[in-house]
């Protein structure tokens, strides 16, 4: 109960600000219409009109909520009108991008922790890779993977492949940084102790470095899965995709219908929230097995 109050207060504040902004931003159109019709706009008509426009600059929360609810429940999950359908499309590439990104990031971290040369050779490129805007590189990845026909060779859609690559490209980095830090977490005393027992490098890795890195891994995974979702959505924008939450946002903005864009945005946010919750459950379970206090 005590935690519910502040949460509700923040939500309430956001709603108030949002409704206020809705009136303010959509007012121009209402005044234009009124000027054309030669009628006066009272405050009451201003509010009621800005709340119910067909193509508002900023749709009010209830319009977004209605559109979102319709998208989620009004159609069969297999229908292309259903946000569940589009969400699943995005989720698929988010998932694979996350899996490959995590594998790549962890693998690179292991190599970097083992060798200083590898660190000097790889780390700058990893950092540079993240300074390039993903919207710039995404079209190239799409063209390349289409030209090389990765999808056909793997027996999946080309679009899934390019979206997975983009998602992995964004999500490997936080995992890499977190795992390098995590695998280096054991102090010299711990390493000396293992040395006095004659532990091999592999044993040191398995028994000490890997378990020590777990808290860092989970912190990174949470950032990584969010990055992966962003990557999947961005990957849907330039592909001329007709499926996925990114495609919904693109279609919404092209056809001048902000309500569609906003409902897709919220669908993506709900998806991200769900993914984080799953990760948190996994973290709690592992933490429990590793003797955590909570």
């Amino acid at each position: 109960m005590r935690t519910a109050a502040p949460v509700l207060a923040v939500i309430g504040l956001i709603l108030v600000l949002w409704y206020g902004a809705t009136v303010w931003l959509n007012a121009a159109w209402t005044y234009d219409q009124a000027a054309r019709d030669g009628t006066e706009v009272t405050f009451a008509t201003l509010v009621s009109d800005t709340m119910a426009q067909e193509r508002p600059v900023l749709p009010p929360p209830h319009q977004v909520a209605a559109e979102l609810w319709k998208g989620l429940t009004a159609y069969a999950p297999t229908s292309k009108k259903s946000l569940v359908y589009h969400g699943l499309v995005t989720l698929t590439s988010t998932f694979w991008g996350f899996v490959f990104g995590t594998l790549l990031g962890s693998l690179m971290a292991v190599v970097i922790v083992r060798s200083r040369v590898a660190e000097m050779g790889l780390m700058p490129w990893a950092v540079i890779s993240q300074t390039i805007p993903v919207v710039a590189i995404a079209p190239m990845i799409v063209v390349l993977s289409n030209t090389l026909g990765f999808g056909e060779r793997l027996g999946v859609e080309n679009q899934l492949v390019s979206k997975t690559i983009i998602a992995a490209y964004l999500s490997y980095f936080p995992v890499l940084v977190g795992m390098v830090k995590g695998l280096r977490a054991p102090d010299q005393m711990q390493l000396d102790l293992l040395k006095t027992w004659g532990a091999s490098d592999l044993q040191t890795f398995r028994l000490l470095r890997l378990p020590s890195s777990m808290p860092y891994l989970f912190a990174s995974l949470k950032v990584g899965i969010a990055a992966s979702l962003v990557g999947a959505i961005v990957g849907e924008l330039p592909t001329g995709a007709i499926e996925g939450l990114g495609a919904r946002m693109l279609i919404g903005s092209q056809f001048g219908s902000p309500i569609v864009v906003w409902s897709a945005l919220f669908a993506a946010a709900i998806l991200a929230g769900g993914l984080i919750l799953i990760l948190r459950a996994a973290e709690t379970a592992i933490n429990k097995r590793m003797g955590g206090r909570t």
């Binding site: 102790l193 006095t196 004659g198």
Partner: protein, 264 residues
Amino acid sequence: MTDPITQSPVIEAKSVNLVFQTNDGPVQALKDVNLIINQGDFVSFIGPSGCGKTTFLRAIAALEHPTSGTLTVNGMPPDEARRKRAYGYVFQAAGLYPWRTIAKNISLPLEIMGFSKEEQQTRTQRVLDLVDLGGFGQKFPWQLSGGMQQRASIARALAFDADILLMDEPFGALDEIVRDRLNEELLSLWARTGKTIGFVTHSIPEAVYLSTKIVVMSPRPGRITDVIDSPLPRHRPLDIRDTPAFIEIAHRVREGLRAGHAHD
């Protein structure tokens, strides 16, 4: 104490020098160290920081390597002695893995050395009983006090039956009362097991109370200034610390430490 078995040398250092190469140039951590430690000895190394006591202990454990001179453990080079599991090492921090139970922590070296599961279990239980932690095997480290954690780390060092126990300020982070009790327990453990113990400390009473041999060291460069063979009996109740003999040895140690500082 004239028993010939107890007089065989276990650790022998002959003109050992050890120089660290640092960014500020070479640092002589050990200079011309000569020392013989016999089977069953309890040897304390005492001196101010930078005197090389820890470095010498680490050299015995093959964690550092002398730049010149010879150092043998059981007649072998330290590296070889390590492979033969000649010693267990106890650091100032217990260094237990928080994700393993106490029993699992103690069986960790056994697991690494490839002991069978049953062997791991029986040995772990035996050393747990030895340090009076019999009922705590299934607890996690954070559920134990600092003193209990350090006892567990001693048990871990004993689990694979090393003849030599090397301890680097094992009780340095504990309060006086816990320290007294652990000192007493360590002496009784030593009496029961007949291990050879190398013990680094910078507490004079601790060194005098525990040791059969006290090695006084001084810094820059790290060297031995005095070796005192304690006349105290092997069995020592805590109140031996109020006897004239004890105070006399403590005095000699203090003099040795002061003489070492006179060079500064």
